[in-house]
């Protein structure tokens, strides 16, 4: 029986690993990893701003950055088009869950560093940032959960890795060892859909789509995302509870 490239089922997520309060100087911080994709988020603030105080909400600033050693080839450290876009995308995904109107006129800074990249860095970043925000005591409606779903060939799958993101059945036919995967995935290319969800409201705060997909398949993919998001939220919740409620004293 042929399975996905890394032996997962179609709806199986990569191994999730969570570490909380890793940066001492930040108000809240977290590391979230989907398999080999590792994101670190740290939250600073709310701090005073010199803006007009009648601005009716707190000001959220997000900086997404990939470290030079996070990719197989060295990444240039200058923030490019991609980093600026992703910072904005992450900010817009988090903002609907935060009650920013409670601290008008202040600034909240979120710094996100990608320690290792293997597809799905923006989703790992959103998860890490929402964990860090909850640990920094900023009022929020719910944790924001993000994951990628997609269509590879003709198959709907959850949580794509880099190999699946680059899937192309035409290329695989030339590769003798990997051509067996075509019967699992089917003909075609890959479509990647990162989504962010507020689980309690079942509300999507981010949908991006890169590729081609039909209406019905998109519906199936989003339903799969919703189902998996609840699973990730449980993991996130358990990790916070585990971090706080262990009976041993921390020295």
């Amino acid at each position: 029986m042929v399975k996905r490239f890394d032996g997962r089922e179609y709806n199986e997520l990569r191994k999730i690993n969570i570490k909380l309060n890793v940066v001492d100087n930040a108000r809240g911080s977290a590391i979230f990893s989907f398999g080999d994709t590792v994101a670190l988020a740290a939250v600073y603030g709310p701090k005073p701003s010199k803006m007009s105080i009648d601005y009716d909400k707190a000001f959220l600033r997000v900086r997404y950055n990939m470290l030079t050693f996070s990719t197989p080839e060295r990444k240039k450290p200058t923030p490019g088009r991609r980093e600026i876009e992703l910072s904005e995308v992450i900010k817009r995904a988090l903002e609907p869950a935060l009650l920013l109107e409670e601290i008008p006129g202040s600034i909240i800074d979120i710094y996100i560093e990608i320690l290792n990249a293997d597809a799905g860095t923006r989703t790992a970043s959103i998860n890490a940032a929402s964990l860090a925000l909850s640990l920094s005591g900023i009022p929020m409606k719910d944790l924001v959960v993000a994951l990628a779903v997609g269509k590879i060939g003709e198959k709907i799958v959850a949580d794509l890795n880099k190999e699946e993101e680059d899937y192309d059945s035409e290329k695989l036919k030339k590769d003798h060892e990997k051509s067996k995967y075509i019967q699992y995935y089917g003909e075609g290319r890959a479509t990647d859909i990162p989504v962010a969800i507020i689980p309690s409201e079942k509300r999507f705060t981010l949908i991006q789509l890169d590729g081609e997909i039909s209406n019905k398949e998109l519906n199936d993919a989003l339903n799969l995302a919703l189902e998996k998001a609840l699973e990730i939220k449980d993991l996130m919740k358990n990790s916070i509870l585990g971090h706080l409620s262990s009976n041993n004293f921390i020295y």
Partner: protein, 199 residues
């Protein structure tokens, strides 16, 4: 019991928000029957709070004070004539009291103690955990003071001033960190007493 943001609460309180007639938590909360306590948080200025402020700007007749909160404080010089820089200058720590908080979050301060707090150690901790550090009827604070002969001033904004013998201060820092890290756990007071007696 610990709740995270989005978990449902039975009753409305300051730590909850409302959606479709149900109440949900908006912070990481420790729930004990009806009482809810925030485990992490920032400092919200309130009238009569005593805080440790840091001078970040000096103007002709007032100082701008960072009070470790989302809003800046203002301390004005009553008798004009002297240069405010001679009294307090950039980077000085001073103990002040909040006199007035206006609707658009301008915070007026008053000096509580004339001397600067520059000769000791300033420790910054999570403001949500200050009540636990002081304890019931300041029991926790008094037991630290009795065992280690040092001066401690706690500002409600999460800054702590420590002064005394270097060895005692470093012991106190360890104990304060221990209390902050374990603030919500049971049997903390006994454990702290045990550590204090052993040192």
């Amino acid at each position: 019991m610990i709740l995270i943001p989005g978990d449902s609460l039975k009753k409305k309180n300051i730590n909850s928000y409302e959606r479709e007639n149900n109440y949900y938590s908006k912070y990481v909360l420790l729930v004990n029957e009806d009482k809810t306590t925030r485990l992490f948080g920032y400092y919200i200025p309130e009238v009569n709070d005593v805080v440790i402020g840091k001078v970040i700007d000096v103007l002709s007749n007032l100082w701008i004070i960072d009070i470790n909160s989302p809003y800046m404080g203002k301390l004005s010089l009553k008798d004009s004539g002297s240069d405010p820089n001679d009294l307090y200058t950039y980077g000085d720590y001073i103990l002040c009291q909040i006199v007035k908080v206006t609707k658009n979050k301008l915070i007026d301060l008053e000096i509580k103690k004339r001397e600067k707090l520059n000769d000791g150690l300033i420790l910054k901790v999570d403001p949500a955990k200050i009540p636990r550090l002081i304890g019931k009827n300041s029991s926790m604070l008094n037991s630290i003071k009795e065992n280690l002969k040092i001066d401690i001033i706690i500002g409600k904004n999460g800054r702590i001033y420590l002064n005394g013998d270097v060895k005692d201060v470093s012991k106190a820092v360890d104990i304060i960190r221990f209390i902050i890290n374990n603030s919500h756990k049971r049997g903390l007071t006994e454990k702290v007493k045990e550590i204090l007696e052993n040192k």
